[in-house]
Amino acid sequence: MPLETLPQKRRRVPAQTTLPESSTVRYDGPTYYDRPVVKPSKYGYKVWAYTYVAGLAGAAQIIATLASLFGRPRMRSVVRNGRYLALAGPTVGSALLIADLHTPQRWYNMLRIFRKTSPMSIGSYILTSFGFSSGATAVAELLGNLRWLRWLRPAADISQLPAALTGAGMGTYTGALLSATSTPVWAAAPRLLTARFACSAMATGAAALSLAERFGGDARNADTLDQVAMAATLADTVLSALAEREYRRRGVADSLEGENAPAAENRLSNGLEHMLPLICYGVNAVLPKPSRALSTAAAFGVLAGGLLMRSTIFHAGNRSASRPQDYLGFTQPQTDWPRLLPAA
């Protein structure tokens, strides 16, 4: 069997658009006593809770920055709340991450090098710079209330810019972190997963700030933030549907919807994250005066659903890594190697 007959480059996966929506491509070839081929991650609630907090904090900083740059004077409370909420990322988030390390006393080794191929390395620096810039912004915001420190307020307006940029990274890099592994469900649709994390971050940030405005600020601000949350939720719903179709096409959907998957958890997550907010926001949009109850219900759906979505994706991923059928189906040669391998 001459090896020169092998293709030199790995070709792109050809689009198989003829697959019916409801079918799932499954691997039914040999396995080694049904043993897992790859190892699942050891990430528990601390890590998926961190992805949620990081996204929320980063998005809160982005919204606060946008409100500071383009919003009306009545949006001052949104700016203030957003800057304080952004602090949850470097404080609660870092605590969760360091507690998750199996040798936490060496947490500072995360900043020993920068490795551009590792989203965890990239993310460590995003978290650090977000921490410093949003910390500086929040401190300037807090102390700028004192008359003799009024000069700090424009300083806050400057430091919020790098904070917002790194805040965009905070909501995104965790999706890339999951995608850059060999876990089938996480690796099957890297672009869609990361974009979903980004949309969920913006939705949760907007929903949290909207709740704060609804119960202690200006209802008009809350309406605007509700519209932002609705746009993000709509985008997330579309990307979610596309991602599920891609998972079926790559043969890894069994961990999400198969008989072993906790279908109840998935449906609850979907309902809370997508259905409830879209219905409530949609009804609010057509009502002459937006209902406070619907807005609150929608915000609750977004916030709880976002958390449940992260949990579902993490559990489904770890499950798919333990299933040899998922990984072996995911790693079948996409190009034609009939002459090299013995026939299955």
């Binding site: 396995t31 919204i63 199996h102 060496r106 995360m110 090098i113 990274g169 909501g171 995608s179 013995p342």
Partner: protein, 306 residues
Amino acid sequence: METQQRMRDYPDSSVNRMIPDESELTAGVKIEAGKRYGFFTDTTRCIGCKACEVACKEWNALPADNLGLSGMSYDNTRQLSAHTWRHVSFIEKVRDSEAPPDDGRVTRMQPYQSNWLMMSDVCKHCANAACLEACPTGALFRTEFDTVVVQQDICNGCGYCVPACPFGVVDLSEVDGKAHKCTLCYDRLKGGLEPACAKSCPTDSIQFGELEDLHQRAHQRVDALHRIGVGDAYLYGAPDSPGATGGIGELNAFFLFTDRPETYNLPPAPTLPSTRVKPALLSGLAAMAGLALAAGMLIAGGGERD
């Protein structure tokens, strides 16, 4: 020959001092920094004695794990883990795929290769290693012998290398909270000794040497097997072969198989996870930018309802 001359300097069967450049005598290769070393594991020579597992455990003082009977033929070790760096797999091909469906007996056997597959699994020391590219602390690094090693005094147990490895090799230890895997006996290589598993293998199924040399031997072996009728023999992990796909390049520890890789619990076409970093990040940032634009417009517009 010079080597045979050197061998005569050590006639005793038990030597109580270190032999300089011992690998020259035991493996036929002198170990020098800057050259690329690896394993060629010829599964057609493996007899399933597990001397490699024992030697590895003994040399690296690894604790016992994966205890108990598994019911998987003679494989009670089950998997590579933080404390198991060599794992011998046993596959008994009870039914021949070409036999009629009702016939449970094996009616056909390849010449020279029984229907019993045995393979000693190990860290592949990939040329483009997913674990190395995933490690944020730099604990995983490439040595001067072109192998991949975890520095135990730097690793903080983040565990990102564990799901990254496309072959499921590296693992986090619950005992000491750090990641562990085969080091290709880095300490032995530094002392001029060949790795413990290669030295203990009685049939030379595990061959240690310089990569070009091993590739040559491997191709010759595949040709020889094809000539005598073992038509299914192929290399797994050599450049442009199954196992060395998707950006991984090649595996410094490569294999000769006579069945599909899935039978040996290995993926036929794994991918390098870091190829997904840029597309994922760009898509995520694009989504963020789009939503931020929409949010900015909504905030500036004000959504006048008053």
